[in-house]
């Protein structure tokens, strides 16, 4: 396959950045999108040019590190797929492919296609955990959890925190991410203990980071590689309403 890439190049956070065109030749359809970029980068290095910087880690769709907006769609538009699991057979020979980083105030671009997603870490640090004293492993059935609850908690816990929800949202809202974390823990007995303070702190941190507000367009859910449901945002809102009525610090 021979393709034309239009890639966002930006030296550093201060650089205004621009789109640069690169040919991608001799691409095998079975390559993943990131492997295709590796091939292009090898060519650039051979020519003595600066390779295209992009994030990746596991390359098997489970870590949430890869983060590319491909042809205007976060992760490229294959349902339930991260861009590291998107394969070149998804494209046609001769295609022109645009590649951009996530764009949001909360995710400043560090270089080319790499953004700083520390905002998500800070949101999780503000409450996306349960406080338990260390000690012996608890007995497996000491805390009963219904099948329905554990399934729903698992659905929310599937979030890999890649930030595609923010990237796709017209408001750069992080509510699907925060909702997944809040709902996951609020569903389970271990997490219920701190549910009120958790949602208070996490939403506060989300606002501080400068993410936008949900207008229920559903774009986030559509691009989410883990297909996290919009229903979790309703659950977070419910948790938040409860916290307002109870009153928290």
């Amino acid at each position: 396959m021979n393709l034309t890439l239009r890639v966002w190049r930006q030296k550093n956070a201060g650089d205004p950045g621009r789109m640069v065109e690169y040919p991608a030749t001799g691409i095998i359809p079975d390559m993943s999108f990131l492997e295709m970029l590796d091939v292009v980068n090898e060519g650039l290095i051979a020519k003595g040019e600066e390779p295209i910087a992009f994030d990746s880690d596991c390359r098997e769709g489970i870590c949430g590190t890869c983060s590319l907006v491909i042809n205007g769609i976060a992760h490229g538009g294959q349902r339930g797929t991260t861009c590291c699991q998107l394969h070149m057979r998804f494209f046609k020979d001769g295609d022109v492919i645009t590649i951009e980083p996530w764009r949001a105030k909360g995710f400043p671009v560090l270089r080319d296609l790499v953004t700083d997603r520390g905002a998500f870490d800070r949101i999780v640090q503000s409450g996306g955990f349960i406080s338990v004293n260390t000690g012996g492993t608890p007995d497996a059935n000491a805390l009963p959890v219904s099948k329905v609850d554990s399934d729903r908690a698992m659905d929310a816990a599937a979030c890999i925190g890649c930030g595609a929800c923010v990237a796709a949202c017209k408001n750069a809202s992080a509510m699907l991410f925060v909702a997944a974390k809040v709902s996951h823990l609020a569903q389970l007995p271990q997490g219920k203990v701190e549910r009120t303070q958790r949602v208070t702190n996490m939403v506060k941190q989300m606002d501080v980071e400068g993410f936008g507000n949900c207008t229920v367009t559903g774009s986030c859910e559509a691009v989410c590689p883990k297909e996290i449901s919009l229903d979790f945002i309703a659950q977070m809102n419910r948790e938040y309403g409860r916290a307002i009525l109870k009153g928290t610090k």
Binding site: G77, E100, N171, N213, S219, A234, N237, R238, G241, T248
Partner: protein, 243 residues
């Protein structure tokens, strides 16, 4: 965090948006049912009008309440939209719209145009400013204002006002366009409202979606049926007789 947080936080403002939206939707639905009495003839709608206008102790608190609701709804919308815009300082070079419906992306615009329509609508039928009704001065309306219309029992003739008002095609077309925008606004807003209030769940989601579609269609059809019926000749005999 306490209840004042509805003015400060992101989700708080969404609550404000949803609650004021719900209250305004209820008003819009009741107002439509009230208006539809025009199809029961002059006696019904004129009696209804006289009842409302005769209860100043009720109508003014209602008006002030509605004004507060509208202002809060608009304030939250403008504030949230400004934050949304600030959240993406640099736009995408190429952006593909995924899943987001046209109505969901244009809520601010449809809302602001509806707000402009409401101002016109109040000038037209409530304040009865002659300049906006496009009827001109006639024997029936010596000053051009609908305020001069009186029925046989000495009540304000709402029936004649509605017929004369909507007989002007331009007025009716503007009204129908505004109702189409209201339809769009509600088609997204009614389900988003449940989502914002946290009332949506896998069980209730489908029911809420159906409610939003049916309710926005009923509101649209209910409202536009009046100007359309009048343009097709409804009530013209009654006004001819007055002249």
């Amino acid at each position: 965090m306490n209840i004042t947080n509805v003015f400060a936080s992101s989700i708080g403002k969404k609550f404000l948006m949803a609650i004021t939206g719900l209250a305004l939707f209820i008003f819009v639905a009741l107002h439509m049912v009230g208006n539809l009495q025009v199809f029961l003839g002059p006696e019904s709608i004129n009696r209804y009008g006289a009842f409302l206008q005769g209860n100043l102790e009720l109508i003014w608190p209602a008006r002030i309440g509605l004004l507060v609701l509208v202002l809060l709804h608009i304030w939250a919308a403008v504030k949230l939209s400004a934050e949304n815009r600030a959240a993406r300082p640099q736009p995408y070079v190429k952006h593909e719209i995924v899943a987001a419906s046209y109505a969901s992306r244009t809520m601010l615009m449809s809302g602001l145009i509806i707000a402009a329509f409401i101002v016109y609508h109040l000038l037209h039928f409530t304040v009865q400013v002659p300049a906006v009704n496009l009827v001109g001065q006639t024997k029936l309306l010596p000053t051009g204002s609908f305020a001069a219309l009186e029925d046989a029992k000495g009540r304000h003739d709402i029936f004649a006002m509605m017929v004369l008002g909507f007989q002007r095609p331009l007025v009716s077309v503007f009204y129908i366009i505004a109702m189409a925008l209201l339809f769009m606004h509600l088609s997204h807003g009614l389900s988003a409202m449940f989502q914002s209030l946290g009332l949506k769940s896998p069980t209730y989601g489908p029911l809420i979606a159906r409610f939003a579609v049916i309710a926005s269609w009923l509101i649209f059809l209910g409202y536009v049926s009046i100007p359309i019926a009048i343009l097709l000749g409804y009530g013209s005999k009654y006004v001819e007789a007055l002249k």
